[in-house]
């Protein structure tokens, strides 16, 4: 198995696709940080009488999701413009100063990241059908379960590597912005938050990984796998939103969809709350989806005739 995974990594690192997807993700997290920092600096320069230290002190003491309004110079008379500017500054601080800044990075991973996971997983699991190389590998004595296991393992490890890279780069960038803005970093509770958010994100990614890989195997095509998994990813979000609006039993059905349970888990990445659902139930449902998708992939691969 190690040989197979090693071979899969050899094939993977020679493809351009993983690097492109990683670059897209990095741009997606670094660009907002850069733009927010530029905006923050411009605003500070424009309003020299606003004390960012005071804003930071108040914002730091406020709960994670609360919108804060800082009024410099006391409660009255209220200067509306400065109030709004202060609120904007506080918002930018949230995305630039650790530990809150990591939440934005985890949110990006939960949004675009999931979509990229679908593209990547379906591509790695499905392209060998198009090239016909799956026949070459199986004909040379690799068992089908071993082949699929090596694929899934490689995809999972590559995704973990990608997520770690994104987090390290994002972390490094926000260390810099934190130091530039506040001159110090608030580490209290950071490690626990970071680790739990990492695990939550990977769990949800594992669902989309297994879904995309399963459809690519079942449909014997990377493109078909991507299309179906992406349609599920987008379509389900819409359906869950519609069902949730219902006051009848339909709303309860939505609780068994992937996106609903993914949200229940990912909402834990926010400092503030554990959401209004049952996170362990959500974790159980997501694990059940993973088991179903992976079992289906193994089942269909075992039964397939690999014709030219």
């Amino acid at each position: 198995m190690l040989k197979l995974v090693n071979t899969e990594f050899f094939k993977l690192r020679k493809r351009w696709m993983p690097y492109v997807l990683l670059m897209v993700m990095l741009v997606f997290i670094l660009l907002p940080i850069a733009l927010n920092y530029i905006n923050y600096n411009d605003t500070i320069a424009q309003y020299p009488d606003i004390d960012p230290g005071e804003i930071y002190e108040q914002y730091r003491d406020s709960p994670g999701n609360t919108t804060i309004t800082v009024v410099p110079g006391g409660p009255a008379p209220v200067d509306m413009e400065k109030t709004m500017v202060s609120a904007r500054l506080a918002g930018w601080m949230r995305s630039l100063v650790l530990p809150d800044a990591m939440r934005g990075i985890f949110n990006s991973l939960s949004g675009l990241g999931m979509f990229l996971v679908i593209l990547f997983s379906a591509s790695v699991a499905g392209t060998e059908y198009g090239w016909g190389t799956i026949r070459q590998v199986i004909a040379r004595g690799t068992s089908r379960p071993a082949y699929l296991t090596s694929k899934l393992t490689t995809i999972a490890l590559a995704i973990i590597l990608g997520v770690v890279t994104v987090l390290v780069v994002g972390f490094a960038a926000t260390i810099i912005t934190s130091m530039l803005i506040t001159g110090s970093i608030e580490w209290a509770g950071f490690a626990g938050y970071f680790f739990s958010s990492f695990v939550h994100t990977l769990l949800v990614m594992a669902v989309y990984l297994s879904m995309a890989a399963a459809f690519a195997v079942i449909l014997r095509s990377a493109m078909a796998g991507m299309a179906v998994a992406a349609a599920w990813f987008i379509g389900e979000t819409v359906i869950v939103a519609l069902l949730s609006m219902s006051a009848t039993w339909l709303a309860e059905i939505s609780e068994y969809f992937i996106s609903y349970n993914a949200n229940q888990v990912l909402v834990l990445n926010n400092f503030s709350s554990a959401g209004d659902g049952e996170p362990w139930k959500a974790v159980g449902i997501l694990l059940a989806y993973i088991a179903v998708f992976i079992s289906a992939a193994y089942y269909f691969l075992r039964r397939q005739d690999l014709t030219a």
């Binding site: 071979t7 493809r15 016909g132 070459q136 004909a139 040379r140 039964r303 030219a308």
Partner: protein, 317 residues
């Protein structure tokens, strides 16, 4: 090697059948196929397009699930053991599948890594063997069909297999490439490897193979050693003054196996040492012999005859 020593058969299929479902239709691609490929032989697998050759190879290599029947490789039932038995084989598959974004060398490295136990220096050896060393660093997607075929053959040679299964290995090759592959197959055969060669190129098969099977509509219609099938060394072609009387006379001779008339010629099947006696029988009976030579049947004639006979059998049924 122990499997081969056990019963000296590299490939054996018993009643192998594959039916594909296409909507409501059932297409029988391979029908009750039973063949035996002797270890160390170069075995030609012949048949027109759609006769089931590639499907049979797919089943042997674990790519296609048989509907019924069984297979043995190296004397062992394939069942659950197929992946481990396939490690002792190599194959050149139809359409030469490979990783298009990898170079020729990297394609070989993929299979060296997958297989294990293969020295990386072997990559250079096989690249040289198939004449691809100059383009080894180019991406496979830039290769011509012939180059892809050479790379497939190189992949098949990587691990010094006991059995090599080749599905149309000369497809896309130019005449010199075809000769090289023919020589390579002969060389591998001389090294004691079993070669299972599916091909349309009857002339090529005739030159390298010592056993053949002819497949038509999924059924084997003839199989055996090439010399036996073509009656090589056993058929005498004659032109005589009275063909009909000569045929009647020879049919009564005990050691003459068959006598056939075609155009103005007689074809007499007998052991080679009896050929002078044929002449003697005819001359003693007052029949003048104008011409007498060994008849060398071609595989092409045999193939077309076998297909035609098979077709008639189907039509009568």
């Amino acid at each position: 090697m122990e499997g081969m020593l056990q019963d000296n058969i590299a490939i054996k299929t018993i009643g192998l059948t594959k039916r594909f479902n296409s909507g409501r239709k059932h297409i029988t691609a391979v029908d009750n196929l039973s063949i035996e490929v002797p270890a160390g032989s170069i075995y030609g697998f012949l048949g027109p397009n759609g006769s089931g050759k590639t499907t049979t190879i797919g089943m042997l290599l674990g790519l296609i699930r048989p509907t019924s029947g069984s297979m043995e490789l190296f004397g062992q039932d394939t069942g659950q053991e197929l992946p481990s038995l396939l490690k002792r084989t190599s194959s050149v598959l139809e359409n030469s599948p490979m990783y298009p974004y990898l170079s020729g060398r990297d394609n070989l490295e993929v299979f060296v890594r997958t297989k294990g136990g293969v020295d990386k220096h072997r990559i250079d050896e096989v690249l040289e063997q198939v004449g691809l060393q100059k383009r080894a660093k180019s991406q496979a997607k830039t290769y011509s069909l012939g180059m892809r075929q050479r790379l497939s053959i190189a992949i098949a040679l990587l691990n010094d297999p006991e059995l090599i299964i080749l599905d149309e290995p000369t497809n896309g090759l130019d005449p010199s490439g075809i000769i090289e592959i023919r020589e390579l197959i002969s060389r591998l055969g001389k090294q004691g490897k079993t070669i299972f060669l599916s091909s349309h190129m009857l002339h090529e098969v005739e030159q390298v193979c010592n056993h053949v099977a002819v497949l038509n509509r999924g059924k084997v219609i003839a199989q055996g050693p090439v010399d036996e099938l073509l009656h090589r060394g056993k058929m005498l072609q004659l032109r005589v003054s009275d063909s009909e009387r000569a045929a009647g006379l020879l049919r009564q001779v005990e050691w003459v196996k068959t006598v056939e008339m075609a155009d103005d010629c007689l074809f007499v099947e007998a052991e080679e040492e009896k050929f002078p006696d044929v002449n003697e029988v005819l001359v003693n009976a007052g029949i003048r012999v104008w011409e007498m030579k060994k008849s060398v049947g071609s595989l092409e004639d045999f193939f077309l005859g076998a297909i035609e006979e098979g077709q008639q059998g189907v039509d009568h049924a």
